[in-house]
Amino acid sequence: MDGVEVLPYGQDRAERLAMLRTQRNLLLTLCAEITAMRRRLADLDPSESWTSQSQRAYLLCVTDVVEQVDLVLHYLNEALHTVRMQIYDAEILCRA
């Protein structure tokens, strides 16, 4: 063994680990940005002074937008969790 184990799809374990770490870092940055925007969107609620029907409808739309952002964050966190598991597996295999 020359220390480089080639995987069935032509990628060695070290390369794959580096790719997974990059993927994790990019996902972390993306999640942080979306979370920051979610905070700003959640602050949009002007309900104290808004009373009319159209304004309540607007607030429902804003709530819907925030829910969509929450859903995006949910999927991204799930993806992040999976990538972390892959990194864990890849690190064990690299050490072995």
């Binding site: 794959r16 993927q23 949009l44 002074s49 969509q68 995006v72 991204l76 993806a79 892959q86």
Partner: protein, 479 residues
């Protein structure tokens, strides 16, 4: 849109954007801008989520292991939906603001048209009274009583005849009425002269704009000057004290803060010099009316200059500012930011319209509206309190520019005006408070104005000099 009315009740900032019919509370505009920003960001996040998914070229081979691809795919799908939701919601907010602004514009135009009709009818009534009552003492006295009444009210002093309740003058409805009334003065004159209404419509503010508030003020000047009132004269300016160190203003708050207060005998102009000797930039601050007497004195910031400026003639305050700018060494190509309060705002607009200086930004606080067109490309911030009657004395705003942002606020929306203070909503300190609210706003157009000011003046320290203008006695007529 009751949100706007709610906002006005709370004394919030209401913003009108030049070149559009958009009128909205600052909160509403900030919301639409945030939603547009989220729309753009969602497109970017979508691209990045897809790119992250595509990084793992082995995903197709790992059928049985953990795989982030499905989650990333779903995130991209929801992001696509999110970007459309945000865009649609932001567009609907802007459309609501446009519709509100359009409705407000139509209502304002209707008020002006009816005011003009009423003014014309009043003029015709006065004319008829003069013709049919020519032989009677009342008929002879009527026009004189009308003019004396106008002048008396305009002086506002205790000898001005009618004492007006200060609380009345801080009522936004009264301010709107005054604006319509001032805009209709030319129609009173047209009716008095026996001119048909159609001629007034064609040549007045609502038509070609040949006759209007400025021509009315010009007529008033001509009439008053024969009685020794509103006599303009040459001015001279001089620097007061030694130059002091100054840091460039970072926004509307600091611009308003540096405008000299209207105090008799004090400097009326402050000029700041920034940049290098090769590339200087300047900030000019112009104070408001010092003397409200109709008889001109040595003070060029007086009622005479106000009426002269509204008549679009060469006011003493304007000449003093131009002389001070020239004496300070401002070259025609040097970029300049001008800010003024009350009459100072009117003069600031005239300086911007004057081709001798390269004015890049103008901020006016509580200035009467004028027809003076600020050149294209000059960032203009107009700050008006809806309960400040002085802003109505120039009549209705008829100048629309893509570069103009108008910010309105009702100062005494949630509290009673202070007792014993004349025109409290016009006070420079109240405009300074509003300017701080403007600086605290993340609204894009207000931010753009701040960026223009800081872009022109930079961030390096400079030098500030105070200037005082004095009106000289009128020159004797040449033989």
């Amino acid at each position: 849109m009751s949100s706007l009315n709610d906002g006005r009740t709370l004394g919030e900032l209401v913003i009108s954007l030049g070149g559009t019919t958009i009128v909205a509370t600052e909160v509403l505009l900030v919301q639409s801008q945030l939603l547009f920003s989220t729309h753009t960001e969602a497109m970017n996040w979508n691209t990045r989520a897809n790119r992250i998914r595509q990084m793992d070229s082995t995903a197709w081979f790992s059928w049985f292991g953990p795989d982030p691809s499905p989650d990333l795919f779903h995130a991209a799908v929801v992001l696509d939906r999110l970007q459309h939701s945000c865009q649609s919601l932001a567009q609907r907010l802007v459309a609501a603001a446009e519709r509100y602004g359009y409705a407000e514009g139509v209502a304002h135009q209707l008020a002006l048209t009816h005011g003009a009709q009423l003014g014309h009818n009043l003029g015709q009534f006065l004319r008829s009274a003069m013709i049919f009552g020519a032989g009677t003492p009342l008929g002879a006295a009527l026009p004189g009583l009308f003019v004396v009444g106008l002048l008396g009210k305009s002086t506002g002093g205790p000898a001005g005849g009618v004492e007006i309740d200060p609380r009345l003058l801080t009522n936004p409805s009264v301010v709107s009425l005054v604006q319509v009334a001032v805009s209709s003065l030319d129609d009173v004159g047209a009716g008095l002269a026996g001119m048909p209404r159609s001629v007034g419509v064609m040549f007045g503010d609502e038509g070609l704009g040949i006759i209007g508030v400025s021509s009315t003020a010009g007529g008033l000047l001509a009439a008053a000057r024969s009685g020794g009132l509103f006599e303009e004269g040459p001015v001279k300016v001089a620097a007061v004290g030694a130059p002091a160190r100054a840091t460039p203003p970072a926004g509307a708050g600091e611009l308003a803060q540096r405008i000299p207060k209207a105090v008799a005998g004090r400097p009326q102009v402050r000029i700041e010099n920034y940049g290098t000797s090769e590339h200087p930039s300047w900030a000019v601050y112009i104070g408001g009316t010092v003397d409200w007497n109709a008889v001109a004195t040595t003070e060029p910031w007086d009622l005479t200059a106000n009426v002269t400026a509204i008549a679009e003639q060469n006011a003493g305050s304007f000449s003093a500012v131009i002389d001070a700018m020239t004496a300070a060494g401002i070259a025609p190509s040097d970029p300049v930011v001008v800010a003024g309060h009350s009459q100072g705002g009117l003069v600031a607009t005239q300086v911007a319209a004057y081709s001798r200086f390269n004015v890049q930004a103008v901020a006016t606080f509580g200035a009467p509206e004028s027809r003076v067109p600020v050149p294209q490309g000059v960032a203009t911030l107009t700050v008006e309190h809806t309960d400040d009657v002085v802003t109505a004395l120039g009549g209705a705003s008829l100048v629309d520019s893509d570069d103009r942002v108008t910010v309105r606020r009702e100062v005494f929306a949630a509290m009673a005006p202070p007792v014993g203070e004349t025109l409290p909503a016009h006070h420079l300190d109240r405009y300074r408070e509003t300017a701080l609210l403007i600086d605290a706003s993340p609204e894009t157009n207000l931010q753009n104005f701040r960026n223009t000011v800081t872009g022109v003046l930079g961030s390096d320290q400079g030098e500030a000099t105070l200037w005082r203008g004095i009106r000289l006695p009128p020159e004797p007529a040449s033989q």
